[in-house]
C-alpha cells in the first residue's frame, strides 16, 4: 500500500495495466516525454517505451479517431484530452463512431478505449479550462462516463475502464488531483495523504463500473453527486448538521439506479449536485429518474444545486462554483419542506 494523490493513482492505474497487458497503450498531447501537463503519464514513456506511450499532435479529433482504429485492431488505447473543454473537436468521432461501432456492425467491431480528461473548475482556468461536459456524453448511447472522487477510486475505476470493451469517457476532477476540496475557496490546499482514500495498492485491483458508493449514510435526505461535488456535499452535510445520505455515483453511465432508489425511498428527499451548467445537465436526468421511480415516496421537491447557466467566469469562479453554502441551503430547504 502506498499513499497517492489522485494524479499518482491515475498514473499508477495506467502503469499497472501497461504492465499487465501489452495491448494497453497511452497517447495524447504532451503525454510522452514530458508526462502530461498534469503529470498523469509521468514516467510511462521511460518505462514502457515510445511505442506504448507517445506524444500526439494537437488534434483531439484525430487522437480519438486513431484510438478507435487501434481499438478495432485489438489494442486498448488510453488517450488524454488535455482539458475536457477541448473534447468537442472529437465529438463526431465519439458520438458517430466510438459509441456506434458495436451496434452498427452487430458486434463485429468495437472500440475498447478510454478518453481521460481533466474537468471542472476551481483553478482559475476561465471558461475554457473549467468545464464539466459530462452530461453531453450521458446522452450518447454507447458511451460510458466515469468520474472518480478519490485516489483509491480513481485507480480502481480507471483500471475497470481500461478493461472494459466499450468506449469510456473518464473525467478527472482536476481540483482533486492533489488534494480533496470541500469548496471553500480560501481553504489552503489539503494533501490527500491525510485521507484514507489515499491509501492505494500499488498493484492491480478494480472497482466495477455501475456501482455507486454511499460515502455517508444518513436518514434525512439523499444527496446524489460525483467528482469534486462529493467532497462539497459531505462538507455541506457536516456544516449544516443535516443527516444526509451522500451517494457518490462514480459511474454516471452505467448508472447504479438501485442504490439511488433505495436511498431516496428511505429518506423521501433528494438533492442532486453537480458543477456543470444546470440546464440539461446530468442532474436533470437524475431528478427525472428519481421522480419517476420514487414519486410516492417524495416528501419534498428534488432540488438541483449546479453551476449556473452561464460560462465559467474567470474572476467569479467562486460565485459560480456550487460550494457547500449553496448545497447546504438546498439541504435545509429540502429537509424543512
Amino acid at each position: 500500500m502506498a499513499t497517492m494523490n489522485m494524479v499518482q493513482a491515475i498514473n499508477s492505474a495506467m502503469a499497472t495495466m501497461m504492465e499487465k497487458d501489452k495491448k494497453v497503450i497511452v497517447f495524447g498531447e504532451d503525454v510522452g516525454f514530458f508526462g502530461g501537463v498534469f503529470r498523469a503519464t509521468e514516467g510511462l514513456q521511460a518505462k514502457f517505451g515510445v511505442n506504448r506511450c507517445f506524444d500526439a499532435p494537437i488534434t483531439e479529433g484525430g487522437i480519438v479517431a486513431a484510438a478507435i482504429g487501434m481499438g478495432a485492431y485489438g489494442l486498448r488505447p488510453v488517450v488524454e484530452v488535455q482539458f475536457a473543454d477541448y473534447i468537442y473537436p472529437a465529438m463526431d468521432q465519439l458520438v458517430s463512431e466510438a459509441a456506434r461501432l458495436r451496434y452498427r456492425s452487430a458486434g463485429e467491431f468495437f472500440a475498447p478505449m478510454v478518453v481521460r480528461s481533466p474537468y471542472g473548475g476551481g483553478i482559475y482556468g476561465g471558461q475554457t479550462h473549467s468545464q464539466s461536459p459530462e452530461s453531453l456524453f450521458t446522452h450518447v448511447v454507447g458511451l460510458k462516463t466515469v468520474i472518480p472522487s478519490t485516489p483509491y477510486d480513481a485507480k480502481g475505476l480507471l483500471i475497470s475502464c481500461i478493461e472494459d470493451d466499450d468506449p469510456v469517457i473518464f473525467l478527472e476532477p482536476k481540483r482533486l488531483y492533489t488534494g480533496p476540496f470541500e469548496g471553500h475557496s480560501d481553504d489552503g490546499v489539503k494533501a490527500w495523504s491525510a485521507y484514507p482514500a489515499s491509501e492505494v495498492p500499488e498493484g492491480y485491483y478494480n472497482i466495477p463500473l455501475g456501482k455507486a458508493a454511499i460515502v455517508r449514510e444518513g436518514q434525512a435526505v439523499t444527496v446524489i453527486c460525483y467528482g469534486t461535488m462529493v467532497h462539497v456535499s459531505l462538507a455541506a452535510a457536516r456544516e449544516t448538521g443535516i443527516d444526509a445520505e451522500v451517494i457518490d455515483l462514480r459511474s454516471l453511465i452505467p448508472l447504479d439506479i438501485d442504490t439511488i432508489l433505495v436511498s431516496v425511498k428511505k429518506t423521501g428527499r433528494c438533492v442532486v449536485v453537480h458543477e456543470a451548467t444546470r440546464t440539461s445537465g446530468y442532474g436533470a436526468e437524475l431528478s427525472a429518474l428519481v421522480q419517476e421511480h420514487c414519486f410516492y415516496h417524495l416528501e419534498a421537491p428534488i432540488e438541483r444545486v449546479t453551476g449556473y447557466d452561464t460560462p465559467y467566469p474567470h474572476a467569479f469562479e467562486w460565485q459560480y462554483f456550487p460550494g457547500p453554502k449553496r448545497v447546504g441551503e438546498a439541504l435545509r430547504r429540502v429537509v424543512e419542506a
Binding site: G69, E97, R104, A106, G107, D166
Partner: protein, 422 residues
C-alpha cells in the same frame, strides 16, 4: 538601409477597390456542353515510376500528372505496367462485371420498394477491384460507401450483402444499418459509417496499431473528393505523416459530391493528390478507370508501407457515371453529356478491350461471362429475397435492437425492451 517610402505613416495608405470572391462553377450545367480540353491528361506511359524508397520531395510532380498504363487502344505502356497474370486479369474483369451487375440489381430492387436506399459504383469498379487484388487479403480496408467491389473481390458473399440491404431475417447487421453500410470483419473490411470521412483517420490508427504490435498487415482507406473537406481528412494525413503509418490513403475523385462538383472541394486549385504533398507524403494521381494503373499504384504504395516507408496518398481520377444514390437526380445539376464524353472511358470496357487485343479474351467469352454473372447474381438475389425484403416484416427479432449498444445491455436497455414488449 530600407528605401524611404513616399507615403508617410504605416502601411499602404492606398485603399483597394471592392473585394469579391470566386464561386467555382462546374464544367457544364444541364443543357451545356462539357469541355474536357483543359484536363490536360498525360499520355499513357508518360509518367516515371520511382523506386519505392524515393524521397517524397523528389516526386512531388507525380501529384500533378496522371499515371496511365493503358492507352486509348488498350495497349500497356511505360514503367507502371504491373506484374499481373492473365488469370488475375480475367478474375478482375469478372469481379468488376459482378460489381456492376450487383449494383444494377440492387438499384432495381430499391426502385421496386424492396429496400430504402442504394448507391451504385458504376464506372468506378476498377478502383475497388484492382486495389483489392493488389492488396493482401488480410490487409485491412476502411472503405467509404462506394467501394463495394472490395467485398466482392475478397469473396464476401453477395448473399450477405443483399441480406444487409434488405434488412431481412439473415441480415448480418440485424436490420440496424441502412443498405450498403456493410461490415465484413471476416474479409478484413471495416464497418461503413454514414458519416463521411470518419474512417480515414481510423485507418491510420489501425495501421499504427498494426505497426506498434509488430504485425505485418497494412491498412488502406478510401474517401470521396467531396469528403476531403472534412477535418478527419486532415487528421489522417497529419497522423500518417508524423508516425510513418503503413497505410494507403486513397482519394476517389469522381468529379462530384452530391450536386457539387469537385471544384467546391478545392479540386480546381490543386489536384487532391497534392494535399498529400503539403504534409510531405508521396502522392500519386492515377487514371482510376485503368485497371492496371490502379493495381500498379496500389502495389507501389503497399510496398512502401510494408517496407516501413510510411503512407502514400493516391488520387484516383474517375467519373461518377450515375446519380449519387437512389435519392439523387443528377440531371438537375449536371449535363448528361458529361458522362458520355468522359475521356477516360469505362473501366470494364477498357480492360475487356485490352484482353481481347491481347488475344486472351473475346467478345463472345465476355458476353457469356456476363450472362453467367447475371444468372448468378439473380439466383443469389432470389434466395436472399426469400428471407425477406425491407418493410415486409421479415426481420431478425426486434428485440435485438436493444443488443450491442454496449457489450452487455444495462438496466435501461433491459427495461426498455420489456416495455416495448419484445
Amino acid at each position: 538601409m530600407a528605401k524611404p517610402v513616399a507615403k508617410p505613416g504605416t502601411a499602404s495608405a492606398r485603399r483597394n477597390s471592392a473585394l469579391e470572391l470566386k464561386f467555382p462553377t462546374p464544367p457544364a450545367r444541364p443543357g451545356e456542353e462539357p469541355d474536357y480540353s483543359k484536363l490536360g491528361l498525360a499520355a499513357a506511359g508518360a509518367v516515371r515510376r520511382p523506386p519505392i524508397d524515393t524521397k517524397p520531395e523528389e516526386i512531388r510532380d507525380l501529384a500533378y500528372t496522371l499515371v496511365r498504363v493503358m492507352d486509348d487502344d488498350g495497349k500497356l505502356i511505360g514503367p507502371w505496367i504491373p506484374e499481373i497474370s492473365v488469370e488475375t486479369l480475367k478474375k478482375g474483369l469478372r469481379l468488376m462485371v459482378t460489381t456492376r451487375v450487383y449494383d444494377d440489381r440492387m438499384y432495381r430492387a430499391q426502385r421496386q420498394g424492396k429496400t430504402s436506399f442504394y448507391i451504385k459504383s458504376t464506372g468506378e469498379e476498377a478502383i475497388s477491384v484492382a486495389a483489392a487484388l493488389a492488396l493482401d487479403p488480410d490487409d485491412m480496408c476502411f472503405p467509404a460507401y462506394r467501394q463495394q467491389g472490395i467485398y466482392i473481390s475478397r469473396g464476401y458473399p453477395l448473399s450477405k450483402m443483399m441480406n444487409q440491404c434488405y434488412s431481412n431475417t439473415l441480415d448480418p447487421l440485424k436490420g440496424r444499418q441502412m443498405p450498403i453500410m456493410y461490415s465484413a470483419r471476416e474479409t478484413s473490411i471495416f464497418t461503413i459509417s454514414g458519416n463521411l470521412t470518419t474512417q480515414y483517420p481510423q485507418a491510420v490508427g489501425w495501421a499504427m496499431a498494426s505497426a506498434m504490435s509488430g504485425d505485418t498487415r497494412i491498412a488502406a482507406t478510401w474517401v470521396g473528393d467531396g469528403s476531403t473537406a472534412e477535418g478527419d481528412f486532415h487528421y489522417a494525413l497529419t497522423l500518417a505523416t508524423v508516425y510513418h503509418a503503413p497505410v494507403i490513403l486513397n482519394i476517389v475523385n469522381n468529379q462530384w459530391a452530391i450536386s457539387s462538383f469537385q471544384g467546391i472541394a478545392g479540386g480546381e486549385e490543386a489536384p487532391f493528390a497534392a494535399r498529400g504533398i503539403g504534409y510531405g507524403l508521396p502522392a500519386l494521381r492515377i487514371d482510376g478507370n485503368d485497371f492496371f494503373a490502379v493495381y500498379a499504384a496500389t502495389q507501389w504504395a503497399a510496398e512502401r508501407a510494408r517496407a516501413n516507408l510510411g503512407a502514400t496518398v493516391i488520387e484516383l481520377f474517375t467519373y461518377r457515371a450515375e446519380g449519387h444514390s437512389t435519392s439523387d437526380d443528377p440531371s438537375r445539376y449536371r449535363s448528361t453529356e458529361e458522362g458520355k464524353r468522359w475521356p477516360l472511358g469505362d473501366p470494364i470496357d477498357r480492360l475487356m478491350k485490352h484482353l481481347i487485343k491481347a488475344g486472351v479474351w473475346s467478345e463472345k467469352e465476355h458476353a457469356a461471362m456476363e450472362e453467367e454473372v447475371i444468372a448468378e447474381v439473380r439466383a443469389t438475389q432470389k434466395e436472399a429475397e426469400a428471407s425477406g425484403t425491407l418493410g415486409q416484416g421479415k426481420t431478425v427479432s426486434p428485440k435485438t435492437m436493444f443488443e450491442d449498444v454496449f457489450k452487455e445491455p444495462d438496466w435501461r436497455q433491459r427495461a426498455q425492451r420489456q416495455e416495448a414488449g419484445f
